[in-house]
């Protein structure tokens, strides 16, 4: 149990760093959903099933949906951090700089 906890905490911290460091905003949103996933496992380990369920519902479903919808409305999806798209900047090619 001890080493499982250490591993889950390490995954949580690594993906929290990925949220800040990944240059692509959509990838950062995916990483933030991994953060709340690991957090929900930690809540199960410390015997808080109610909180784990709320964190799973909010972090896995709701927060990701809201962030992604907002990114789509902002026109920032598929781009890096710079919001000056070059012409011909396709979705597939934009993630290569990670």
């Amino acid at each position: 149990m001890y080493w499982i906890t250490v591993l889950v905490v390490a995954i949580m911290i690594l993906s929290a760093l990925a949220v800040l460091l990944l240059p692509n905003l959509l990838a950062a949103v995916a990483a933030s959903s991994v953060v709340s996933l690991a957090l929900s496992v930690v809540f199960v380990i410390i015997r808080a099933p109610d909180v784990a369920m709320t964190e799973a519902a909010v972090g896995a479903g709701l927060s990701g949906v809201i962030l992604v919808l907002a990114l789509r409305r902002l026109g920032l999806w598929g781009l890096g951090d710079d919001n000056h798209p070059r012409p011909g900047d396709s979705l597939q090619g934009s993630g290569d700089d990670a």
Partner: protein, 231 residues
């Protein structure tokens, strides 16, 4: 320079918090109010889930405040985005493929059943109004993901939200009139662990679930109907 100062600040705060955490009594956390609730909660409230007992019975007024904060946030989103509604000549997102449309239609009743199960068993198993409300909102929003041209009926959503909030306050006032305490448990406790137990707590959780679900569904629908910025 600014980045260096910020990192120094964050690192210093982290060191301070870790020093504080190292001094905590590890292994046996002191519980002042928790011991009392764990001891007399099941008899006094009748809910098998003691977290539910704290949320709705011991700290029920906090839940009312939380609901009003959520209401203010949803109203704020509606107010801020009110001038940015998609115009009729703008094309919405393309419709989803066959798999998404079929899955949305198939999953809708299942999601509604799961949400109602979580709301109704809030006083017995983990879960309750907040989690069940989120699932209900997801159930009503999933068809909108498949067909972005449709939209939720905002009048119905607002009515559900208002009626649920009013029901929560009315149950609390009823307890205030009869027992002298706002949101005191009413209607007898029943057998601990059965579905019809814990008095008014399931009714309160149904109100909370409907209100949270309506607010979050309306919020996501508002975001969906917002016009897209030109890239």
């Amino acid at each position: 320079m600014r980045n260096f100062t910020s990192l120094l600040f964050a690192g210093g705060l982290g060191f301070f918090l870790l020093v504080l955490a190292a001094d905590l009594p590890v292994g046996a956390a002191p519980m002042v109010a928790g011991e009392g609730i764990l001891g007399q909660g099941p008899e006094a409230v009748g809910a098998a889930n003691l977290v539910t007992a704290v949320v709705l019975a011991y700290r029920g007024i906090d839940t009312l405040g939380e609901l009003s904060i959520l209401f203010a946030a949803a109203a704020g989103v509606g107010l801020i985005l009110s001038g940015m509604r998609r115009r009729a000549d703008q094309r919405p997102d393309p419709e989803g493929g066959f798999i998404l449309l079929a899955a949305a239609d198939l999953l809708f009743p299942l999601l509604v059943i799961v949400g109602l199960y979580i709301v109704l068993h809030g006083h017995l198993t983990p879960g309750g109004g907040f989690q069940g409300g989120v699932i209900l909102a997801a159930a009503f929003f999933l068809p909108l993901l498949g067909r972005p041209g449709d939209s939720l009926n905002h009048a119905v959503v607002n009515w559900v939200e208002g009626l649920a909030g009013g029901a929560f306050v009315l149950i609390g006032l009823w307890a205030l009139a009869v027992k002298g305490d706002f949101l005191a448990p009413m209607l007898g406790k029943g057998a601990l662990g059965s579905l019809f137990s814990a008095g008014t707590l399931p009714l309160l959780y149904i109100a909370v679930g409907l209100k949270v679900g309506a607010e979050i569904a309306g919020l996501m629908s508002t975001l969906q109907e917002t016009e897209a910025a030109e890239p």
